[in-house]
Amino acid sequence: MYNGFAIVAGLVIFFAMLTAPFALGTMTKQYKEPELKLPVNEKECIESTEYMRTNHMQLLNEWRDWALRDGKRTYTNHAGKEFSISLQNTCMKCHTSKADFCDKCHNDAGVSPYCWDCHVQPEGLK
């Protein structure tokens, strides 16, 4: 092969770089779910933990339209319990710290929702 060594070496480097993220990923430690600070006085969220974990973003999206656009501000959950639709006055009354709850997962997942550009976090603004 003409220039065989260079080609093979090049290929090896190319594949090493290509697979580096995967290799590094399996070599370094496993992803651990962040430890959240859960509300002290409440055992249950408005829906099941599972449901909230996967759907809270969609639920909040629906909440904002229901409250603001449709003027419907009372939410009945699957168990038939009623809640006032409000990020600040319902969610944040239990989850009293954005830093110890919201940010933990959002930081790990690299998402920065812009809710906080307007809504006031429970620890207040400086």
Binding site: G71, Q88, V120, G124
Partner: protein, 257 residues
């Protein structure tokens, strides 16, 4: 050959059936039980309207007091000059009612200042021009804003004949007293337009608008479509005018002169 194609088609059929089922399952878990309704304590009206008695409320100090209440509960930033943000403010007779001026107007009336706010027009140009429907009219007549949608194009500001809207040129939080925020109401962000919301958040829990409550009986609020409501009673008994009738917007804010 034939056999495997047959299996493939069968499997594809099952997968398609699965797809057809899946969204329904998702729907059911997101609340196929129609989970929302209006608050039990909410006040209702076919069309909300306000009447302001300017024989009682006509000094800058008194109006500024009310503006302070409104601006505090809605976290409206205080900025001086052209970048001012205001939901409730005051102005002269000539500026408030330019079409109804005449050179021989009673001096006393001419010297009053008038409380101004969004008129929650029945025929609001701001709604018509808003390309995102961030400004919309609720069935109860309130012209509301959905700040989540506003793109800051300011068409609504050009459309409003009353200057009822303010633009956030910068982050409003820079001009808010952070230690004295109302934590129950959001702030806005840079680049959105804002205005008086007729206190929808208070009506939703059965309260009157904050300015009306603080006005010592100089302001009335109620259902314009209900002939027995207080606003209709006042409108029947007193002479009232509205701002810029020629604009054809049909304001829901009436002024007793």
């Amino acid at each position: 050959m034939k056999n495997s194609r047959r299996t493939f088609i069968k499997l594809a059929g099952i997968a398609a059936a699965g797809l057809a089922v899946a969204p329904k399952k998702v729907l059911a878990s997101s609340g196929g039980h129609s989970p929302v309704k209006v608050n039990a304590t909410a006040s209702h009206a076919k069309h909300w309207a306000m009447v302001i008695d300017t024989t009682k409320l006509h000094t800058a100090e008194a109006i500024d007091e009310l503006a302070k209440v409104c601006h505090h509960i809605h976290n409206v930033p205080s900025i001086e000059g052209k970048k001012e943000v205001k939901w409730l403010w005051h102005d002269t007779y000539g500026h408030s009612f330019p079409e109804q001026e005449n050179p021989h107007l009673a001096e006393e009336v001419h010297e009053r200042v008038f409380p101004l706010l969004c008129n929650h027009c029945e025929n609001p140009p701001c709604v018509r021009v808003c390309p995102t429907k961030a400004t919309f009219q609720r069935p109860d007549g309130i012209v509301a804003m959905d700040y989540h949608r506003c793109i800051g194009c300011r068409y609504c500001m050009a459309g409003c004949p009353y200057g009822s809207r303010s633009f956030n040129w910068g982050d409003p939080r820079l001009n808010l007293d952070m230690a004295n925020l109302n934590p129950e109401f959001p702030t806005r962000m840079r680049g959105v337009v804002e205005k008086c919301n007729f206190c929808v958040e208070r009506l939703a829990v059965g309260k009157q608008p904050a300015c009306v409550e603080a006005s010592n009986g100089a302001m009335f609020f109620g259902d314009l479509k209900d002939p027995d409501s207080e606003v209709r009673k006042v409108l029947r008994e007193k002479f009232t005018i509205r701002r810029k009738p020629s604009a054809g917007t049909e304001p829901s804010v009436y002024y007793i002169i």
